[in-house]
Symmetry: C2
């Protein structure tokens, strides 16, 4: 499986073991494999269990003749071909914000909404291998309860009443396994408790029904593990949907969920959102609930991750945050900051009419591929046309930031990963990241750790000072309002080829919020010559092995149909301002390009 190709992965999705497992109940007792079982046995049992949950609802499964051949790369329209008109109305014409409104107004029942998403999710699983735990029946029970409640009281139970919500595998959901892509955790991590964010989702009325794939180690910007194999990009199955929240992105892009829960410590929300043409928000640490995740390195707080939403509209990102903070999670999760959600800022309060946005064209390590530079240029032109100001963002220490953040990822020299994976061979992206372990794989001592923390603080001061200094270059009297940046140097990459995280992990190190938004999909036939020479000097020889690898990888055909995305970055704890400014950026793009911005849920408009 570490070197499994797409077909291998696809075959795993229809294993021969299904008859050995109860197909009728969501609450079948998991039968743990003996601890000494080889990883293939554990994988087969997990996959079989998952298949049994799907088989319990044959009405939602793709009929044999509708299953696309492995040669079919673009499976993004397959859901829409299978669903009824009413199902399609639910899953393609409503973002989460519209859906909760429709549910509240009883335009749809919670049960019919969930059924539509279960149908799409079953298909999404079949064609991209994006799900882990499946509990449709549990969800249907809850949806029926919610319908009864609304019927009887006339009131919704909360702001997400009846909204299906998908959950990344490593986030604890009561009663379900939290295998997190690790063979050694499979069947052994059935949670007796919801994560704080999941608990809030339930209290707000969201309906849980699936968990989604994440990669082995979680430290991967693709999604592959030895339990389920790899997850595929629905727009081009030769490509990755990104990671580590890649199950979410594949599922949501195929309309199998209106919104999902991801986490990001180096790009794990933003990369999958970008590679699947979705919206994603990585907020600052401790703004959103974070307790109740399985993962390695509990207690390591030199660098922390952020939990956040992946969705189909910018306003859904705000909806998620607003609901999370409405429940005052800081009262039960001590690290969280008591900073209530400022919806008025999203609506424009304190956001100046004329913004100055700095564009990061090239981080000095790996120049982005042409479609990404072109997207920056399109956005620049749109911003200028809309009356905003644009300056260049001079990159600061991106290579250094990577060397520094990997020290924090691996303070223990990678020991905990090695221990967890003793009987779980590394998939290729695990191999790649474990090759980044510094300090010769030895743990740092306390003096090293103090020093690393100081390096982190010095880095943050340096970048903040750099940001402040832009004031002398803007015409607004302020420093720049935001940075517009690539999310990665490539579009969704061919499997196992991610080599540079610097465009995302940099902002984890800074703890600055960043929102990803889509700008259409890439059509190789539109690969016109890109005129960014005015903005960018030529690189010449590759500056380093990563840039060599990535520049040699460029071939328009490889990225056929891949979504194009960018990220907008603001100052720490300014999540609302980032989303408010994103609205301006999208407005500028709409003005400049007609309906061409990514806000069209169907991605029917492929623009370059």
């Amino acid at each position: 499986m570490p070197d499994g190709d797409m077909l291998h992965t696809a075959s795993l999705a229809t294993p021969s073991l299904t008859t050995s497992l109860s197909a009728s109940s969501d609450r079948a007792e998991p039968r743990a494999a003996p601890p000494s079982a080889p990883w293939q046995v554990i994988s087969a049992r997990k996959v079989a269990e998952r298949q049994a949950r799907l088989d319990a609802h044959p009405e939602w499964q793709l009929e044999a003749e509708a299953v696309p051949d492995a040669q079919v790369k673009d499976v993004s329209t397959i859901t829409t071909l299978q669903l009824t008109a009413r199902e399609l109305d639910i899953v393609t014409k409503h973002d989460a914000t519209a859906l909760v409104e429709a549910l509240r107004l009883r335009k749809f029942t919670a049960v019919e909404v969930l059924k539509a998403y279960c149908h799409a999710a079953s298909i999404a699983q079949r064609v991209t291998n994006c799900l882990t735990e499946i509990f449709f029946d549990e969800g249907l029970e809850r949806a029926a309860e919610l319908d009864r409640h609304l019927e009887e009281t006339g009131q919704v139970v909360g702001p997400l009443h009846g909204l299906p919500f998908s959950i990344k595998d490593h986030v604890k959901v009561k009663g379900h396994d939290t295998a997190t892509g690790y063979i050694s955790w499979a069947f052994k991590t059935v949670s007796d408790k919801d994560a704080v964010a999941v608990d809030i989702l339930r209290r707000a009325g969201a309906v849980l029904y699936v968990k989604t794939a994440n990669p082995q180690t979680l430290l991967s910007l693709e999604t592959n593990n030895n339990i389920y194999g790899r997850t595929l990009n629905p727009f081009n199955r030769d490509l990755s949907p990104g990671g580590s929240s890649g199950g979410e992105s594949a599922l949501i892009a195929l309309h199998g969920s209106p919104m999902g829960l991801g986490t990001d410590i180096g790009g794990s929300i933003r990369i999958p959102a970008a590679h699947a043409g979705l919206y994603g928000l990585k907020g600052s640490v401790a703004r959103m609930p974070h307790a109740g995740l399985m993962g390695s390195h509990d207690g390591m707080d030199a660098i922390l991750g952020a939990l956040g939403p992946i969705a189909t509209s910018a306003r859904d990102l705000a909806l998620f945050c607003r609901v999370m903070l409405q429940y005052e999670p800081w009262l039960i999760e001590p690290p969280l900051l008591e900073i209530p959600w400022k919806q008025n800022v999203i609506e424009g309060e304190g956001i100046q009419k004329k913004l100055c946005i700095a564009i990061l064209w090239d981080d000095g390590v790996v120049r982005p591929h042409p479609p990404i530079l072109d997207a920056l240029k399109r956005t620049k032109n749109a911003l200028l046309r809309a009356g905003h100001e644009v300056i260049d963002w001079e990159p600061v220490d991106h290579r250094y930031s990577w060397d520094l953040i990997t020290k924090m990822y691996f303070l223990d020299g990678g020991e905990e990963y090695r221990e967890t994976m003793r009987k779980d061979p590394p998939v290729p992206q695990s191999e790649w990241i474990l090759a980044q372990v510094p300090n010769d794989g030895k743990p740092y001592d306390v003096a090293d750790i103090f020093k690393i923390n100081l390096e982190r603080e010095a880095f943050r001061v340096k970048v903040a000072t750099h940001w402040n200094a832009t004031r002398s270059r803007t015409g607004t009297g302020r420093s720049v309002d935001a940075v517009l940046s690539p999310v990665a140097p490539t579009l969704a990459p061919p499997h196992d080829s991610t080599r540079w995280w610097g465009y995302t992990s940099y902002w984890n190190l800074m703890d600055f919020p960043a929102a990803v938004f889509p700008l259409g999909r890439f059509a190789p036939e539109d690969n016109r010559s890109l005129d960014v020479s005015a903005d960018l000097p030529p690189v010449g020889q590759p500056r380093n092995p990563e840039e060599r690898f990535i520049s040699e990888q460029w071939n328009p055909e490889t990225y056929k149909n891949a979504p194009i995305s960018l990220q907008l970055i603001g100052r720490r704890l300014n999540e609302e301002r980032v989303l408010g400014m994103l609205e301006r950026v999208e407005e500028a793009l709409r003005l400049a390009e007609g309906s061409g911005s990514g806000s069209d849920k169907n991605f029917s408009c492929v623009t370059l």
Copy 2:
């Protein structure tokens, strides 16, 4: 000096070496002692340099016949006996808030205000040994500049225009030494930069003129070091003014400064404020600027300190915070939280008319001495009379909290302290704290550190859950609004006798804000029998060695004239709410006891 008594300390304050140093300039080049010099030589040079700065202004020095004998314990009125009526008006009739208003209205000039404080500070130094770096002339130059500016423009330079402000020694002030009570740092730590908070003070118009004593290691709730010897409590020189910000408390209590900068990682603002009858605020970590401090363990962030004010009124605490955040320090100091100061909360917004306050009578480790229990009882009765609700706070894990926080203080096994103090023998309180070093003085490894961080988080969850659960015991429909607690189990202790930090360090571990406020001074003749039996079961045998030591220490005569204080504690990041509620508590006390609350700057009313 480690065992130096008061007389020894007093003699150090008038050394015989003054003639070897320039007495005329604030900017005399310090003459560093050779690195191999014994600590006594370095100490003598620092003390002589300080004396020279005082000698440059004989007009402010106490005349020989006015210097009290060592037998005189209460020196708290000595400033008022020496100052002119106008000087007295400035330093005793105005808190900082009133003073900046008077300066703005040109009732006083900045120069005359500073001169009055320099006069009082010179006397305070003579009788309590509270100062370290003295730069009166630099302050006078700045004050004159400010006067000219106001004269010429009609505008103040900022909200603290002309306000003298004293700075704890370990906080960097440009051009001055930052010896921090360490022999090995003396003469070697002249800062080329202001700490962020100091920089803001300057920009706001504050006038700097002195730095104040802190103890060796800073990890002490008294103030003693081998450079200057110990600092004395002006109300009773046999007692400590507290620490580690004890130079501040002695100085401010003697009207030698209207407000000062302290820091607190275990009680170091609150204890000196309490022992000197002042107001002090330890806010949550990262609310106030904190960059630019000298201290041990830079880069250790398992537990962090908070910088905050010591002042003579509750409203001055708010003034300080408001001014600090007005300058948006989060833009230059990345760890700071962008949470603007909410003055409207202090003014009552969102603070319910009827509060429910929980009283911590006894932390389960060391029962407080009778005057402290009595102060709790008085405040309880006053709160009830004012219509508030009062319940008991059940203590949770105070002993455990101490064992846990000492692990974080000494993650490196105390190595850095031992290294810094190689030629600097530990003063008694350093000896005591270094005897608390866990793990047999060995550094923790990375796995230990992750575990300690998890223990900290579990502790925080446990206490937060406990706080939330009070909801079932209040009549307000909310959990308790605040906890009212002793600051220490004793009033200002005899020198070298502090044995229990649990009443303060607990709230550092929780990162909850706490404000200290005064309730008068203790008169042994008023040591009436305290009837707290209804509230408290008898302890019986001491529960542990600390309690045995402290209970045996109780003798009314020992604490003659010592200030009585309490602290009010709120939820994390609710600094404004704590100060808003403190106003209610003080109002209740005023109602119940007439003018007896501590808000009288002269402490003329000794109540019990």
